[in-house]
């Protein structure tokens, strides 16, 4: 596990550690079962192509969940993911890496919590942002 980040130590412009997840057909089947979304465009190539897609595509909601995982793994035991919002702007095809990134845009205290706002997004291997969004996490304070 990475070192615990503290509210005092982070600042605007700082990046959260990126997360790369290869979304192969096994991953998409696991997500279908885990989420309950069994729409066939995500795991049945013939079905996907019959709807006009080049191949199976990654579930938007999986990309949302991966952004949540990136944040969870960054904020550590002492932190919490408070909000993850994203828009599914571009398709990601099966068998490619989905790269999750985030950069801090603001930090503030509210209701006794140390909150950090970020721009978050997923990129495809060409660096195209397919899922832009925003997030809020709570971090622990060095003061306790």
């Amino acid at each position: 596990m990475a070192e615990q980040p503290y509210f005092e130590d982070v600042g605007e412009g700082q990046e959260a550690p990126a997360l790369t997840q290869r979304c192969d057909s096994q991953r998409l089947v696991m997500w279908a079962a885990g989420s309950g979304d069994f729409y066939q465009i995500h795991y049945d190539k013939d079905f996907a192509q019959a709807t006009g897609l080049p191949d199976r595509i990654v579930h938007g909601a999986l990309k949302h969940a991966l952004l949540g995982r990136m944040l969870h793994e960054w904020v550590g035991e002492g932190g919490r993911v408070r909000r993850v919002a994203c828009q599914y702007r571009g398709m990601d095809l099966v068998d490619k890496d989905v790269i999750c990134k985030g950069v801090i845009t603001r930090k503030y205290r509210e209701d006794g919590q140390n909150l950090v706002e970020l721009d978050v997004w997923t990129e495809d291997p060409q660096g195209q942002k397919t899922t832009p969004g925003t997030a809020v996490v709570a971090l622990p304070s060095r003061g306790g």
């Binding site: 696991m30 079962a33 885990g34 309950g36 919002a85």
Partner: protein, 160 residues
Amino acid sequence: MAQQQASLITDEMRAAVGRESEPVTFEVDKTACRMFARAVGYTDPIFYDEQYARAKGYRSVVAPPAFLGHPVITPGQPNPLAAAYFRFDTGLKRVLNGGTDIEYFDDVCAGDVLTATSQLVDIQEREGRLGPMLITITEFTYRNREGKVVAKARGTGIAY
């Protein structure tokens, strides 16, 4: 718009905005939390190992971000949580998931009993590259047994 076109949004659709669904109560299932965590690729034991999660101060295995429990589906019957989904016949053939926005106000753990309500919060129409589009926003509110809101989820649907 210069040219008068019939709106895709009917009075019936407008009347559905803001109407809260019947509440649906369900338990956050431990196995479902683990399956979901595995699907997203989590390695943190708080999502898998109950003893470990308790030692870290949680009630049980933790529900990972984005997992708010599955309603119990009875085959042949509609998903009880989908009551607020946009179900009007618009003549539009395709639907896309436009986006997801989830806010968490408290931890959600296996064994928690949550009550969810949903409502259509907005409908808009736009002229897209592929013709007319209807954009709908549905909001789900999850409360725990004490009635405290633990999470709110908003989903954007795009019909075109």
